[in-house]
Amino acid sequence: MTDDGWFANCEPGDVDGAAVAVRDGSASEPADWPARAVDAGFAPDEDAYYDALHEATVAAARAEAVERERADDQQLVHAVRAMDDCARTANELAERAAEWAGALFDVSGGGVDLAARVAERDAETPAEERAISLAERVVELDAEAEDLRGFIEQQAPTVAPNLASMAGPVLAARLVSLAGSLETLAKKPSGTVQVLGAEDALFAHLRGRASSPKHGIIYTHEYVRGTHPEHRGSAARALAGKLSIAARIDHYSGEPKPEIEAELDDRIATIRARTGDELPDDAGGDDGGAGE
């Protein structure tokens, strides 16, 4: 840390250099920088100093905000992938743990629930110790998945407020993850957003082996899943259209625009009204969505 002002090594007129100095610099104590800059010959007078400072601070803040936001969407991508890995691994290991526990103890059932019960037991033999320890790992992995979900729920609304509000934070994070970043998601046509996550089905279709997929991961949204199968294609198209717009607004401006969500709500109501849709049995789910 130096005791110099931001302008110490700046050429007058070099805005980029000045912005870097503002961003990366530091000082232990403030000083009368305007007077010092004038004394040092950086600026002819205080007004000129403030003009240069204005240019430098706005450029620095703008560039850093964009950079930091990019970095934030990547944290979301890591988090949602890690959450899925933890949940999947917890389920796989739970099966193994259940099989082992079933051989040692008088227990029934399976999954993380069983693992949680096994983890409570006291081991009496080395084998029991291992089986119980394995069950504990299952419980921990499952808890980690939940914590990751909490992080996503908290983070997605800052990274992509409109998308998170319309899709729900977890689905928003999945879409960003499938696209790779908020920027690439924002640049995809809505037809692509509609089938993101259905790549396998899409390839099968392109090879002539299946009908074209009507939806990818957005299937988890209540507006698709909760719409009568006959109209799911329309619902998926409407949803994907609005989600693409949301992703673009989030990437380019970040301002909340509740009217788009309202338009989507209307559109879905219209689609569902066509047959007086009742929700089919499999409606609702765990991935969050506007309806939850």
């Binding site: 503002v22 530091s26 000082a27 403030p30 009368d32 601070t57 803040a61 964009v66 936001e69 301002e255």
Partner: protein
């Protein structure tokens, strides 16, 4: 706000006025508009329910904003309040650490050549002490984060000896479960390590569970 307490008639500095935008009197400043707000010519309504500093005036405290004051503003968010401050005062340094609102803050600063946005953490004053000048006249703090007294103490170094701190304490940021008045007492006690507290007032009905504090360094 129609049933708000009548503002005490603290004399307002140059650049700040009370005007009627069709919905009773509110504070107003002159400058280019920011977001959805009532305007009248180049006067912009400064809404007490959207700004803790405007509410500080509305409940009868004088935060010490003056024309040509040099101001350090902590927790600028998208710049709603900072824009009014910059339209009244002189050099205004606006610190905000969340990247998203900083984009808006930059747009607000585009129209204001003495508003300097800084993407920085107010708990780390060294990270902007090479930019923000010493002897500021006013330190405005609205950070809504844990450790609000600590932030004010760390940033005391930017204030002139006769400068003012205008702080809005949000009780829930310190502790969601504690009684707000206990939280306020604790924050004020910490604050007194570096400041003499001149006035305090609740910001109800404009902002729930917020206390406005005007203080000076000692």
């Amino acid at each position: 706000m129609t049933d708000a307490p009548a503002p005490e008639d603290a004399t307002l500095p140059e650049g700040l006025a009370r005007r009627d935008f069709g919905d009773g009197e509110t504070l107003a400043t002159q400058g280019s508009p920011v977001g959805p707000e009532a305007t009248d010519g180049d006067w912009r309504a400064w809404d007490a329910s959207r700004s803790k500093l405007a509410a500080t005036y509305a409940v009868g405290l004088d935060p010490g904003l003056t024309a040509d004051a040099t101001v350090l503003y902590l927790g600028a968010a998208a710049g709603t309040t900072a824009s009014h401050v910059a339209d009244v005062a002189g050099a205004t340094y606006a610190v905000e650490f969340a990247p998203r609102p900083v984009r808006d803050l930059c747009r607000v600063a585009d129209d204001r050549d003495r508003l300097f946005p800084l993407l920085a953490d107010a708990r780390k004053p060294e990270s902007y002490a090479h930019v923000v000048e010493a002897d500021c006249d006013l330190l405005v703090q609205d950070v809504a984060t844990r450790g609000q007294a600590d932030v004010a103490l760390r940033n005391r170094r930017f204030l002139a000896d006769d400068g003012r701190l205008a702080l809005a304490i949000k009780a829930r940021s310190e502790d969601v479960t504690d009684d707000p008045s206990d939280v306020f007492d604790a924050v004020l006690a910490d604050l007194r390590e570096g400041y003499e507290v001149l006035e305090t007032a609740s910001l109800e009905p404009y902002h729930d569970d917020h206390l406005a504090v005007v203080a000076r360094p000692h």
